[in-house]
């Protein structure tokens, strides 16, 4: 299963945690190829990743998780990988779950690792929680199947999803998580979920602070609405 699989790690200034994440991935999945997309880091992220034996693609400037992931999907498509798993560089995701997230691709195009399940330690509160519930409801309705954690960055993509995301992967805030799922569902791809463990951040600061959380709902709704209203053809200007 994991022979033509690629673990893609988008990383922006994660020199403290990147090597550890790569080592853990290799321990759990010795056969997968590991790609680090260095999203314009100004620290030693790229060098640390190279030292750990990962393939490194360095973007000339910071383009956001969406742009970094599209680069990964382009790479996967051109190199003929059959599966791509996204893992965060800050050590929040447990590589022990890779088996389940990858394995789920046998009957789905996309498998999202959900942090909300009975055994989970993960908790969010306040406006952010309401927003996540609303997003989950909207996407689950579109999908005709439950997606309880649409903002999870721990997810895998099969060949059909790789081909789609290599061309069309949103770069806006929340586009890389919520928006990409909406696009996939609209194109008729099968999206499933599987429970995963969520660790608290090893190093670095969370990418969304309290102020962002308050704006979360509006922006997230906009992301879904924009996808819903978007015409179904591939964006012209965005294609090479």
């Amino acid at each position: 299963m994991s022979e033509r699989s690629l673990v893609a790690i988008p990383a922006w200034n994660e020199e403290d945690s990147i090597a550890d994440v790569i080592d853990k991935v290799r321990t759990h999945q010795p056969d997968v190829a590991i790609l680090v997309v260095d999203d314009g880091s100004t620290d030693l992220t790229a060098i640390r990743a190279q030292e750990s034996g990962a393939t490194v693609i360095s973007l000339p400037f910071n383009v956001g998780v969406g742009g970094a992931m599209r680069t990964a999907f382009l790479f996967a498509q051109r190199e003929g990988y059959q599966a791509l798993v996204q893992v965060d560089a800050d050590g929040q995701h447990d590589p022990a779950d890779l088996d389940r997230v990858l394995g789920g691709l046998s009957d789905a195009d996309i498998v999202v690792g959900t942090r909300f399940h009975p055994d989970s330690m993960y908790f969010v509160g306040g406006p952010r929680r309401w927003a996540m519930v609303l997003l989950s409801k909207a996407l689950s309705f579109m999908n005709k199947g439950v997606i309880s954690d649409p903002t999870s960055g721990f997810r895998s993509a099969g060949p059909r999803a790789i081909a789609l995301f290599a061309v069309d992967y949103p770069a806006d805030y929340l586009g890389d998580t919520v928006g990409s799922l909406a696009i996939a569902i609209r194109k008729g791809l099968v999206v499933r979920e599987t429970p995963v463990t969520m660790y608290f951040r090893q190093f670095g600061r969370p990418s969304k602070n309290a102020v962002w959380s308050a704006l979360y709902l509006g922006r997230a709704s906009l992301a879904i609405l924009a996808t819903g209203l978007k015409s179904n053809r591939t964006p012209r200007s965005d294609v090479a």
């Binding site: 360095s58 000339p60 400037f61 383009v63 382009l74 790479f75 051109r78 770069a171 200007s237 965005d238």
Partner: protein
């Protein structure tokens, strides 16, 4: 007569400035044409204020100056939207290029590595 002189002078300066930018090749034709047209129209009404009065009366706008302001604001909004559109397109294209450059760089490094091992 002074307001008309002011309007006329502004129009002429804009016209000459845009033309200068166009000749130097700094401004692309598709944008230059628009601004030349704007300043040309403004110059026309500065020279013949009667035309504006006549036009307002024909359309049914009580104060000619309102017609002027309305049209100007409307056209400027159109231009802003067009510029936002162009900007979005360029951001997308630059991002795309950055992705391609990064992928190419990785391929070059890969080939170089292979070369050294041989």
């Amino acid at each position: 007569m002074t307001p008309n002189l002011l309007a006329g002078a502004t129009a002429v300066i804009t016209f000459v400035f845009v033309f200068y930018l166009l000749r130097r090749g700094v401004l692309r034709e598709k944008y230059a044409v628009l601004w030349l047209f704007f300043s040309g129209t403004a110059l026309f009404f500065a020279i013949f204020p009667g035309a504006l009065v006549w036009l307002s009366a024909t359309i049914g706008v009580a104060a000619p100056v309102n017609l002027l302001f309305f049209t100007t604001v409307f056209l400027l909004v159109l231009v802003s939207v067009q510029l936002s559109y162009e900007l979005s397109r360029h951001e997308m294209r630059i991002r795309r290029l950055a992705e391609e450059v990064a992928l190419l760089q990785q391929q070059i490094d890969d080939l170089r590595d292979r070369d050294e091992h041989e």
